[in-house]
Amino acid sequence: MALVLNEEQSMLRDSARGLISDKAPVAHLRKLRDTNDAIGFSRELWATFAEMGFAGLLVPEEFGGSGLGCVEAGVVMEEIGRTLMPSPFLSTSVLAATALTRGGSEAQKSEYLAKLAKGELIASLAVDEGAKHRPIKTAMQAVRSGNGFRLNGAKAFVVDGHVSDLVIVAARTAGKPGEHDGLTLFLVDPKTKGVEIERTIMVDAHNAARIVFNDVEVTADSVLGEVDRGGALLGGILNVGRAAVASEMVGISEEAFGRTVAYLKERKQFGKLIGEFQALQHRAAHLYTDIEITKAAVMKALQMLDTDFDNTEAAVAVAKARAGSTATLAVQEAVQMHGGVGMTDEFDIGFFMKRARVCQELFGDTAFHAEQLARLKGY
């Protein structure tokens, strides 16, 4: 498969870009932030997203979705990255759609997927517990109780957890933190007794929540996939999420870079355009190269998720690691090359820096994924 978008994918990109740049430029996020919006994104815009088929992009056609693949999800994520549009696309359309499609029973699929594709159901994935992404360290307990389970524990960094109609939770039914086996995924209705949700206002003005589970009773029907063997399913869901976030970071990098290059061509100092200074030219050229190489790696990972799902660990690790370091460099250079104005809140560049930092942490930062790669390669 060629590492370029085909015609349909390019058309999808153009329509996503058109909608997003029109309806949700950075000013949209700024307004939500400045008005302390209770939800943090626009329900109206999300409905439009669903009408255009984006919400159910990964949902199979038999459940009312578009039945497209990860490359297409990546295309949309990249456009989201360009304007930092807040939406439940990652949590719901990428993570939950993947979780339900790959792990759901027929009953679970028919209960949730159609609603998800219509934009009527928002779902979230609750994995992280500590300051860093370490799924293997999951400590949250799920103890058998009657013919169901009782959940106890706490989750953080649950993207869109504050507005979810459904939370997909990773918990331990066996083993100890640090062990591979013993993880199980549960579908939890956040209105269940004992679930406490705190919306966390984050540095990037996007949404996440901390969720505490106090003796939360769930039925056996709420198990997604197999008991004790949820690790592999979770790994697959996370890999799709990682590649999607990597795509968002490519969008962030390209947009921050594009704005920087434009500035280099208009800002004058010492009687010259600052873009004439070779010191800045070379840094810009380095960054361009770095972004191009990352784009290739991310596209490779997305394609492999669509064609060779079970062998994508290394490709995803490379993509997420690269995307993290590239986006970090892109936003740092953007602020630096804009000089003082880059530090002002009034100017948009800072929004990219904040979002890049959050994306870096989401589902493992550069160091986490380099470590994964080293482990996979056996050294």
């Binding site: 050229a285 190489i293 290739a296 080293a374």
Partner: protein, 394 residues
Amino acid sequence: MANLEQFRAETRAWLETNCPPEMRKPVANDSDVFWGGRNTVYSSEPQRLWFERMRDKGWTVPDWPKEYGGGGLDPEETKILRQEMAAISARLPLSSFGIWMLGPALLKYGTDEQKREHLPKIAAGLIRWCQGYSEPNAGSDLASLQTRADIDGDDYIINGQKIWTSMANFADWIFCLVRTDFSAKKHDGISFILFDMASKGVSTKPILLISGKSPFCETFFDNVRVPRSHVVGTVNRGWDVAKYLLQHERSMISEVGERRGTRPLGQIAANSIGTDEQGRLDDPMLRGQIAAFDVDEAAMACAAERAVDLAKAGQGHPAYSSALKYYGTELNKRRHEILMSAGGIDVLEWESPRSNEGLTARSWLRTKANSIEGGTSEVMLGIVAKRILDLPGA
């Protein structure tokens, strides 16, 4: 698609039968690399067999037309052949500046006669070429070259000096930039010309490198007579040919990171340094460096693949190869710094069988040229800044 799958299966089977086991091992020294030419000798029987079998299939240049000794493969098939060769760590059957640089330029700018004369000999490894671009005062600023070609009847008389001409002392022919118009602006008076290194008036003098090898030469032209028909492309428009060739040279050099048949860095380091109880390299800082390197190297391989796909889809930029040349060469230097750290004391021995006569150290030193040859990293960044990013200032 089905055809491609069949092509892959057939290719795999053919390689399996025809690539001798000895040709699937990493290259141990320079004589393991086959360059062809009038005076070559094969270093071993397997080297000869492998070369001849590949040549007979046209697979020394798989994507060239069959009429010029190529394999006539389309880009997808070529990619598959490369992948299948890499999968068994097959060595290149023939290394050649003719294949990597001159061939593409001739295919685009050569006359029918020039193509028929030169391409089949390149494909068959009969003629070994060298590149006469740089001069003592024209390196990064290549267009300021001064070697002159003056018309004399049907011939040019060439006078001047080239420098850093890689392996000129082994080459049969040279592709050379000469000034044919001294009154024009510096880019407009250059021609691209081909001639035999055995011509009267050509002499070479090797220059020793820090790696202890001498692949370079100073090359002198003293009234060398060359037929005017040997100019490739239009007279005085040689800069176009030169630039086109440089794109190919840069793509070729950017692939230095794509190693064939060498073991992964992590494994090399683990063998040398040892591992802890959990099987991790017993040097956490070095392990981290290797992991970061592996991330970048894997991404670079994707980018090299994508460059081909972009070009095929008509979305490539002519200066794209400069970006990849810059990144690939810096990456390869990093790889060799890590190899030196991983090897520690053991690879520092310069003359000893234990260190394979300093192979690692010599390679490490050689890689420092990657970011100089074919245009320095600084020059590549300048090209990207101006040609791709369109930043101001000449």
